[in-house]
């Protein structure tokens, strides 16, 4: 893979009047990486993308592309190409004209544009469709045309603003793979905006998790999933069960949490918070549904949870058990379906166990609302 051009955001603040849309963002994106900004709608991720593409100037801080400060460069002067959420294909231009619009601006001849369009159409597996109008294409095809149109400009950085959100689930999953493949083939830096953690996890080299204008964590997908730095990251990325409580004792990188409902439980302090948590702090402990397992009835200890079963469902690959949890939230348990027998415990208490290293403690904070 070619080295690609990196993007650096240095102390970016973006304000609209009194409203702070982005608060002190610092991000270093390696050249050739697939980098995602992940967060709920309104968290400022699109605003960051617009600052990178040049549609708005940050109130403070710098955007560097390939080490060069982009301040004062308009969107038409930056080596970026943006793929819009609604794709924004030109409805009155044919597909090949759409794709080669950037060449038309540079004054390329019609024959040259045709040739380039054919190459790109081959690349996106739509050969011979150049003379159609965008309205004659399916959703996934339009998607690919938008990608081809952006790549035609030969940008150093491709910016994607939730381009898959309009597609149905099947196509979306297919396009994930395809986008990732295209990115690896062309080797340029992709910056991807999404509120879908599945998209972010499957495609990205690195992910920045955002909440209300603040970047909570920047790491690769596995780290974010297994070792979240904040309560928001833990609850936003993937399904997670929260146990609220206070730190009772810290021993090395582990802590004993006296939880509100489930007694004292042991867990690992997430890497970002090690050394920062002390006794008496409000804390939140997270255990993934798949990290919980059935335990012998009545077993007690610092890695056992007992609660009332409220509901059970069979999802094919797993049995899901829902139990009374903390603060009105259910505890969800996913037991893989390995053909074992399964007795209903609906309305009865049930005891679960987990491995201490699979439970993560972070300081108490705002949870993602979904």
């Amino acid at each position: 893979m070619s080295a690609g051009v990196g993007v650096d955001l240095e102390n970016i603040w973006i304000r609209f009047g009194d409203f702070v849309a982005v608060r002190d963002a610092n991000v270093n994106i390696n050249g050739g990486d697939f980098f995602s900004f992940l967060g709920p709608s309104g968290c400022g991720k699109t605003t960051i993308l617009r600052a990178v593409s040049g549609f708005l100037e940050p109130s403070e801080g710098n955007v560097l592309i390939g080490g060069q400060n982009m301040q004062g460069f308009g969107p038409n002067k930056r080596p970026t190409a943006l793929i819009f959420q609604n794709l924004a294909l030109f409805p009155l231009m044919k597909v090949w004209e759409n794709i080669t619009f950037s060449l038309e601006i540079k004054g390329a001849s019609s024959a040259e544009r045709r040739k380039r369009a054919d190459e790109l159409l081959d690349m996106i597996a739509l050969p011979g469709q150049g003379d159609k109008l965008p309205s004659e294409l399916s959703g996934g095809q339009k998607q690919r045309v938008a990608i081809a149109r952006a790549l035609c400009a030969e940008p150093d950085v491709l910016l994607l603003d939730e381009p898959l959100s309009a597609l149905d689930l099947k196509l979306r999953q297919h396009m994930r793979t395809e986008l990732r493949e295209i990115q690896q083939r062309v080797g340029i830096t992709f910056i991807y905006i999404t509120h879908d953690q599945g998209e972010a996890l499957t495609m990205s080299d690195d992910i920045a998790v955002m909440k209300a204008g603040v970047i909570d964590q920047i790491a690769d997908g596995r780290t974010i999933y297994n070792d979240p730095s904040t309560a928001f990251c833990a609850s936003f990325v993937g399904e997670n069960n929260v146990f609220r409580g206070k730190v009772k004792k810290v021993s090395g990188d582990h802590a004993m949490i006296s939880t509100n409902r489930s007694g004292d439980l042991m867990a690992r302090i997430s890497t970002a918070n090690q050394g920062k948590m002390k006794e008496g702090d409000d804390a939140m402990m997270f255990i993934r549904p798949e990290a919980l397992a059935l335990a012998p009835e009545g077993a007690q200890g610092d890695h056992f949870v007992t609660a009332q079963v409220t509901n059970e469902e069979f999802e094919g690959n797993s049995f899901n058990i829902f139990m009374e949890g903390d603060g009105g939230k259910e505890i969800k348990v996913s037991l893989p379906n390995l053909g074992q027998s399964f007795d209903s415990h609906r309305g009865q208490p049930m005891t679960l166990e987990y491995e201490v290293d699979n439970a993560v403690v972070v300081p108490a904070g705002e949870l993602a609302t979904e």
């Binding site: 593409s53 549609f55 038409n76 959420q85 924004a88 030109f90 231009m93 038309e104």
Partner: protein, 306 residues
């Protein structure tokens, strides 16, 4: 009964459907088609005093049309150059007014269409409110502005641009300004309507791909706004070519508008057939011209209704 009529009656019921259909037919046939046919009929008849109606002299003739082209029989000229010149000057002037209006209104419509918020409503209101004042008063107001001792001359002379008052009226500047001003809204609103529905992302996408503003307008905005532009241009052209009040009030003494000739035929000369023939020629030529221009710019009739 054709399918669309059946569906129409099914949807609205026989009673309401008949009423609506009746009103529409009355409007189109009774108020538009029949009077025009009557004018058409007039245009092919000689100008006779009422007692001779239906008499031996009341026969169809092309005399009224011949008159427009060749002038009075036995006249000294080969062509009716006076009236023909007025006719073509009117058409050319109407085209100029239309183009001038388009150039003026496109940026306004674009601005209105692509910006949102309270100040936009005030802006639109400021465009509309002057049209509460009737057309004649607005024309006279322009006369006051452009008159020899009018506001404009006073200001320009005060600034030392002219030593003596410039005759805006004799030079037809007042007339063009008046015609342009009269139909501004008819140009702005169709274009505004279309541009308002243009996805802002398309403009940004073009910009992102390196397009300059002129390029964005040429390749993205104007093609998209074409139905609005053609509908605005058609209306402004038709109405300026057929305007009467503005030329009457703002026109210079030597520059007649073709509608004024028609008016003279009907009222001053009391020659309805001659006036009818002139009116029919103006109407037909304007329609043909509009159709030809639409053809040239590949605009469909259906687009105009958008």
């Amino acid at each position: 009964m054709p399918g669309f009529l059946k569906e129409f009656f099914n949807r609205n019921g026989i009673g309401m459907g008949s009423l609506m259909l009746g009103l529409v037919l009355f409007w189109t046939i009774g108020l538009i088609i029949l009077p025009q046919l009557s004018i058409l009929d007039f245009s092919f008849r000689p100008n006779l005093p009422p007692p001779e109606y239906g008499g031996p002299k009341d026969v169809y003739t092309l005399e009224n049309y011949r008159y427009l082209v060749f002038g009075p029989e036995g006249g000294g000229q080969d062509y009716n150059s006076v009236d023909l010149r007025v006719f073509f000057r009117t058409l050319v002037a109407a085209v100029c007014v239309t183009l001038f209006n388009l150039i003026l209104c496109y940026p306004i419509a674009y601005y209105l269409g692509q910006n949102k918020g309270n100040h936009m409503r005030i802006f639109a209101l400021m465009l509309i409110i002057p049209y509460w004042i009737n057309e004649i008063l607005r024309a006279f107001a322009l006369r006051i502005i452009f008159g020899e001792s009018g506001v404009l001359n006073t200001v320009l002379m005060g600034l030392g641009v002219f030593d003596t008052p410039f005759d805006f009226i004799r030079n037809d500047i007042a007339l063009y300004a008046g015609l342009g001003y009269a139909y501004i809204l008819l140009m702005i609103f169709p274009i505004y309507n279309v541009i308002e529905s243009l996805d802002r992302n398309q403009i940004e996408a073009a910009r992102d791909m390196g397009a300059s503003w002129p390029m964005i307008h040429k390749r993205v905005v104007i093609p998209y706004a074409k139905p609005g532009i053609s509908s605005g241009c058609t209306m402004v052209f038709m109405l300026s070519a057929g305007a009467l009040a503005a030329p009457q009030i703002l026109g210079g003494p030597s520059s007649l508008w073709f509608t004024q000739l028609i008016y003279q035929q009907f009222n001053d000369n009391n020659d309805w057939p001659q006036g009818a023939a002139y009116a029919i020629v103006l109407l037909a030529v304007c329609i043909l011209f509009v159709l030809a221009v639409m053809r040239m710019f590949k605009v469909n009739m259906g687009d105009i209704g958008k």
